[in-house]
């Protein structure tokens, strides 16, 4: 039976982790490689890096991070943030990313998704959709949540599946950072109309939220940052909790 996945996400800025795990035995708390290794040793099913480096001149720092991580972590590594072109995707894959997540570029230039999924295979193309609720609909935001495109998120999700995305990473902007749980209504609606896996993101504050993302949101995988960063819960605890709730996980 296919297992639901738990994916810890690390925000990386200028090659350093922002909001790191508070582990006493860390040699270098800001090193993304060391943190990724702790997660993979702890049973993370995949690792996700979100590069939030703002300045262009520092953008190359992520490549070094990916290269070093991929030599230490032998679970899938997804990298996103600032990915604009097929060339950017190619570079990240060559440095050792297994999947690349694309957000703004997928909206501005869907050709990137069509072309890259043909060139590298759908398995490595994750489209990240940031959505915010408006009335009974959700709208797609780009540029790290700053720009409202007014595009219907559910229709856009379908379009991305048709364009060749292998997975969708759905973040509810209403929930992100609130710790009150995923927007499971949004997750369920998207998951019901597409046939590729949905990764739920945005809003996890406790382990029940992970359970709900899978049971109510019908997500194939659940992504979380702060509950793991701040050491509130370990990956193992999360998995054991999901297991106790009857959710199939890799233990």
């Amino acid at each position: 039976m296919l297992k639901n996945r738990i994916i810890p996400c690390l925000d990386v800025k200028n090659g350093r982790v922002v909001k790191g795990i508070n582990f006493v035995d860390l040699k270098d708390a800001g090193d993304p490689v060391e943190q990724a290794k702790i997660y993979s040793d702890g049973g993370a099913d995949e690792i996700c890096f979100l590069d939030i480096t703002a300045s262009n001149e520092n953008r190359n720092t992520i490549y070094d991070v990916v290269k070093r991580t991929s030599k230490k972590c032998f679970v899938p590594l997804t990298v996103g943030g600032g990915v604009r072109s097929v060339d950017d995707i190619n570079k990240l894959l060559n440095y050792g990313a297994d999947k690349v997540s694309i957000n703004t570029a997928a909206v501005q230039n869907p050709e990137v998704i069509i072309e890259s999924s043909k060139k590298f295979g759908s398995q490595c193309i994750v489209v990240a959709i940031d959505a915010k609720k408006k009335g009974d609909k959700w709208e797609v935001f780009t540029h790290g949540g700053r720009n409202n495109t007014s595009i219907n998120a559910i229709e856009f999700a379908k379009k991305m599946e048709d364009s060749g995305a292998g997975e969708l990473l759905i973040t509810s902007m209403d929930r992100d950072g609130t710790q009150i749980g995923y927007d499971n209504d949004l997750m369920f609606k998207i998951s019901s109309i597409i046939n590729i896996p949905v990764i739920a993101s945005g809003g996890v504050g406790n382990l029940d939220h992970l359970v709900d993302g899978i049971k109510l949101g019908n997500a194939s995988a659940v992504l979380a940052a702060s509950i793991f960063h701040y050491g509130t819960h370990s990956i193992q605890e999360a998995k054991q909790y999901l297991d106790s709730k009857g959710i199939p996980v890799r233990i």
Partner: protein, 208 residues
Amino acid sequence: MNVTIVDYNSGNISSVINSFKEVAKDKVNIEVSSDLNKIKSSDKVVLPGQGSFKSCIDALNGISGLVDSLTEFAINNKKPLLGICVGLQMFAEIGYEETETKGLGWISGKVSKIDNQNGKYKLPHIGWNQINILKDSKIFKEIKNNSHMYFVHSYEFIPEDKKVISSTTDYSSNIVCSVEKENIFGTQFHPEKSDKIGLKIIENFIKL
């Protein structure tokens, strides 16, 4: 000992290279090449593959003499070869992804889309699933039955001779997830991304 990972522009092979180098340390030489002489003189060959069946076959055929060299290595000289993901699928005679495409024909059978029962199962089959070991494969030494492996695929290899199947996994039906035919090995899952247990499979192959 030399192990050559065939680099034929089949998509991203960084993880395969990293995992083999991690296991090999300094004891075994890991080459990444499409050089025909290097392949022929290798002790073992790894055939990765990402993307579609057709794109991988086209890429193999795009390098003059590569298919012949691989066939000489695996079929005539019977040296160990490991196919990973589409690398395994290409052992088949025919594949149906994108369009009907002729495979290497090393193991009788076809590659067709997983029956997802009208959308009941998501495709691609992405994530960790357990393998049900059907026969003692040399690459499964010290691997426990029901171990979790990492999968990413929408197509499955259906061999004619079921005796070549060394393990299956349950996803809408029993999907073939590894084969062994004499010196030819293949995994549908990605040992390079299957954590320590995947590295163990790579180690088993290197130690053959």
